[in-house]
Symmetry: none
Subunit: 239 residues, 2 copies
């Protein structure tokens, strides 16, 4: 469970408790406003061991460096070009991935704003909790509770064969993926494909496109091999 | 939703919010320790209308007088002689009953002790949330959230129709995708990336990788734009 820029420490505590009741253990906090904090500890109740072992990082990429499946949660449907799934499907997908020894991140945005566009760029899919359209204000701790509950339900459910069969891809760790995206950006600059005005939008689109494919390690090697070949040609051109 | 002898008003507020996000409206409080209370209002966030309309009663029987199905929740399995079901089954049962115009109560006990034996005597069945056996301390608001979520899921569950409609990626026609793959192959040959021995295997791998991402039309245009930029650089190199 990765919480981004959490404002209220009470929600961090509630999330830790939600995780522990459902058997999840690793909490990562990206730039929490207040942590450690007495409110977090109070709301964690007996789950303060989760808080004690929580990782606090400055940067989302750092939090996800080992992860092979990143599921971002969103109370509302987003019009972004990412696969979307329900919390229930997310539980199944996460458990199927874990059974293949993959590391999975459930990503939660800031309380009020939710996940930013940049945070969503790190996700392989978005998870939607089907809230009341007239009042979708799901508390952060409650959202964590529902997702962790669905993970647990999937974990103890033996009827999830279809979900498990769905995906045989073993995605590369996110750090390796980021390395590829950085390399891609460099090469695209070099061949004059990125103009400075639109380069951020363009890189975001490309990142999402490749993120959807969730390349495996050997595929990342192939893609970087292509980039190196382009670099070489392009270098020759300039000589 | 009927809360029995709730100790912490914050949990009443959290329950109201949990209910409203999931589209439930009628809250009944049986002998709450503090209510109304500022903590309840604060935690309810925008769901204070649920609190304002909450019924406060002295006696559980009074709360249930209209109800035709009473489901009591329990974090742990009880050895009482009552049918037991999961939260998921309870959602389905509750919705099925409501569709037959029955009134259904979801009953929650006091935070620490849970439902007393006397309170359980009012129940038609007990609902079990499958918590971590080593730490089953589900917060009251979190338990309400999970049950209300399961009611909502059962309410909107029309098979997988909602999920299918949610997927926002609209893949390009396969002919357009094939055009991209052909272009890719040509450019990779041009920059010396494909050696003839392994080129079939390599192109198959790349095809699968991009196929997984299921690029949309405008994404195909971007990818082909990159290929054209590479071609141009590479042509320059040869001149």
């Amino acid at each position: 469970v990765v919480l981004c820029q959490t404002t209220h420490p009470g929600n961090i505590g509630a999330s830790a408790r939600a995780m522990k009741t459902m058997g999840l253990e690793q909490l990562v906090l990206v730039r929490p406003r207040h942590f450690p904090d007495a409110d977090a500890t109070a709301r964690a109740s007996g789950a303060d061991d989760i808080l004690a072992r929580a990782l606090v990082v400055d940067d989302l990429a750092e939090a996800l460096v080992d992860c092979q499946l990143v599921l971002g949660t969103s109370a509302r449907l987003r019009s972004v070009k990412l696969p979307q799934m329900t919390a229930r499907d997310a539980g199944g997908r996460a458990v199927a991935a874990v059974r293949k020894e993959q590391r999975v991140a459930l990503l939660f945005g800031q309380e009020r704003a939710g996940l930013s566009n940049i945070e969503m760029d790190h996700c392989h899919a978005l998870v939607h909790v089907p809230v009341n359209p007239e009042y979708g204000s799901l508390n952060l701790g409650a959202a964590v509770q529902i997702l962790c509950y669905e993970v647990r339900m999937a974990m103890i459910d033996q009827g999830q064969a279809t979900v498990a069969a769905m995906d045989s891809v073993m995605a590369a760790p996110q750090g390796m993926f980021d390395g590829f995206v950085g390399h891609l950006e460099k090469v695209l600059g070099q061949i004059g494909f990125l103009d400075s005005k639109q380069s951020i939008t363009m890189m975001r689109r490309l990142r999402r496109l490749f993120q959807r494919a969730a390349p495996e390690e050997h595929e990342i090697h192939i893609l970087r091999g292509i980039l190196s070949a382009v670099e070489k040609t392009s270098g020759d051109a300039r000589d």
